[in-house]
């Protein structure tokens, strides 16, 4: 027994996890170094005199923000269009994501109840996961370039691009949120003969509603930002105006539009917090 001879054994005062921590810290450094080299990571260039001067000149041109009534009306119109692009895109993305997430999640598997999922359902779920990967691995910018060719310049291309990429992202994360919760409630209903959709509505959804909604609102916020980038390739909205103003070196106009973006993001943040409170 270990306690038989306490006088001869020294008490263990060293943390046995210490060596492991040192190793992993070193390993992380060794991995990061080649990446810093590959990306020509030289942060000190930011503080070279010519860089600082260029930065200051660019920053100074932002002031004062453009506040002409005609320009503000234009910004309001384009803001509305941007919100519409993001909302329509997310709504279409939900049409893709919700069925795929429901079909690919393990929690709602009847064949997995006694332990292992059967081969057929397993293959089907994997196939749907691959479809989600394919959808989101193509950046929305690429989809937008494709759709601008197909449906022409304008918001439709932006909506479709957001719908496809975000459908893939939402589907994947929804599936993960559903699987991360406690499975017992859903299992109990399935074991007592309920159907998959019934188990989803009565067990999985009430347990995860707050997370699902908050992630969706966050994605809506991302879609707003994304629609700016899409505007640069002609998909309409505030982004297209931002592109025009940048090209004409109208710093004041750029500043106004950036402020509008900050407001939109803050709004999304508040909405998400409110949903979490009321559903949590």
């Amino acid at each position: 027994m270990a306690n038989a001879a306490p006088a001869t054994t020294l008490p263990q005062t060293r943390d046995p996890a210490w060596l492991g921590r040192v190793f992993w810290f070193g390993a992380a450094l060794a991995l990061l170094w080649p990446m810093a080299v590959a990306t020509e990571f030289k942060p000190w260039l930011l503080f070279a005199p010519e860089s600082v001067e260029a930065t200051l000149r660019f920053g100074a041109s932002f002031f004062p923000p453009a506040l002409g009534s005609e320009f503000l009306a234009l910004v309001a119109r384009e803001t509305w269009r941007t919100v519409a692009i993001a909302t329509a895109g997310i709504s279409l993305a939900l049409l893709i994501a919700v069925p795929l997430a429901l079909a690919s999640t393990r929690v709602l598997s009847i064949s997995a109840l006694p332990g292992r999922m059967a081969a057929g359902p397993f293959v089907l779920r994997q196939a749907l996961r691959w479809l989600l990967i394919a959808l989101r691995s193509m950046p929305e910018l690429v989809w937008a370039l494709v759709f601008v060719r197909v449906v022409g310049l304008g918001p439709t291309a932006g909506v479709l691009a957001i719908a496809l990429t975000y459908g893939g992202m939402l589907g994947k994360v929804y599936g993960e949120i559903l699987e991360s919760g406690e499975p017992q409630a859903a299992q109990a209903l399935l074991r007592n003969g309920a159907g998959r959709l019934q188990a989803f509505c009565y067990a999985v959804l009430p347990a995860n509603a707050a997370e699902l909604v908050s992630y969706t609102v966050y994605r809506w916020e991302c879609a707003i930002r994304s629609s700016v980038v899409l505007g640069f390739v002609g998909a309409g909205g505030l982004g297209q105006q931002l592109d025009n103003s940048t090209k004409m070196f109208a710093g004041g106009e750029v500043a106004t539009m950036l402020l509008v973006f900050m407001l939109l993001v803050a709004l999304a943040d508040r909405t998400s917090a409110w949903f979490r409170r009321s559903l949590g």
Partner: protein, 278 residues
């Protein structure tokens, strides 16, 4: 519903292949409308027995027949329909914390209900009087519109049991229904289950840690030890010696006024859950 175990063995799905089976070559028959208590020390295989009976776990060897049918030979749709006639209540009530009690209880009706009417019931509960009556049997009707996470552990357990009364099942498999209840509530809960099962001629199999409750309320007792059947006797033939052998060293914790081995008939005022080994 009738249950037939024929040399059924099973292990937990996550267990290693080398681990001993949770239930070993169990042969047991339960007739329609019969009431049966399964007792035994922790880890004896009580939950596994219930899971096998509920077609929630596939036997590794031997067979389990439910109403003469082998559930694992059935196609998935047919198996789900059969499961709709069974009700398995896990020890920890599986209730989503953010759900209201009325919804959680009415979820027992989902089997055999169309998706459309289950969705409508989410919008406005379809059978509020039914849910209220079921909860009233366990004395928690006042919590009908409360959220599950506002309930105490014992209240949640009683909500989980009230589900059984609403299900259309003809076989109730109840795992440790009294683990979170005080003696009075435990007496009330077991009475509700036993009486309702009898009046609907539902087959009732319950695993219990409270040996005195089992002996008092159930006509037939199955003792499990280390995954094997230790005894299967009418309650009045279960002796103190059998229980001592069943629980082994744990038996000291079960010190309770066990009356004469035969014809055990506890006075109704006696504390019921005093025997619970915790």
């Amino acid at each position: 519903m009738r249950l037939d175990f024929d040399a059924a063995s099973a292990r937990h799905p996550a267990a290693r292949a080398s681990a001993p089976a949770a239930l070993e070559a169990l042969t047991l028959s339960v007739a329609r409308g019969e009431q049966l208590a399964v007792i035994g020390p922790s880890g004896a295989g009580k939950t596994t027995l219930l899971h096998l009976a509920a077609a929630a776990l596939r036997p590794g060897a031997g067979s389990v027949r439910i109403d003469g049918r082998q559930p694992w030979d059935l196609p998935t749709g047919e198996l789900q329909r059969l499961r709709g006639h069974l009700f398995l209540a896990p020890q920890v009530p599986p209730l989503p914390p953010r759900q209201r009690v009325v919804t959680a209880v009415l979820a027992a009706r989902l089997a055999g209900q169309s998706l459309r009417s289950s969705l409508r019931s989410l919008l406005y509960p379809t059978d509020i009087p039914g849910a209220e009556a079921a909860l009233a049997r366990f004395d928690i009707a006042d919590k009908l519109f409360e959220r599950v996470d506002r309930l105490s552990g014992g209240e949640r357990q009683r909500v989980g049991l009230a589900r059984a009364l609403l299900s259309r099942a003809s076989l109730w498999l109840i795992d440790e229904p009294l683990s979170a209840l005080d003696p009075t509530r435990a007496r009330q809960a077991i009475a509700a289950l036993v009486d309702e099962a009898a009046s609907r001629s539902v087959t009732l199999v319950a695993s219990l840690h409270q040996v005195d409750v089992a002996l008092e309320r159930f006509p037939r007792i199955v003792g499990l030890r280390a995954g094997r059947l230790a005894f299967d006797l009418p309650a009045r033939e279960v002796t103190r010696e059998l229980l001592a052998a069943l629980y082994g060293s744990e038996f000291d914790q079960l010190d309770a006024p066990l009356a004469a081995p035969a014809g055990f008939d506890a006075p109704t005022e006696a504390p019921v859950a005093a025997l619970g080994c915790r």
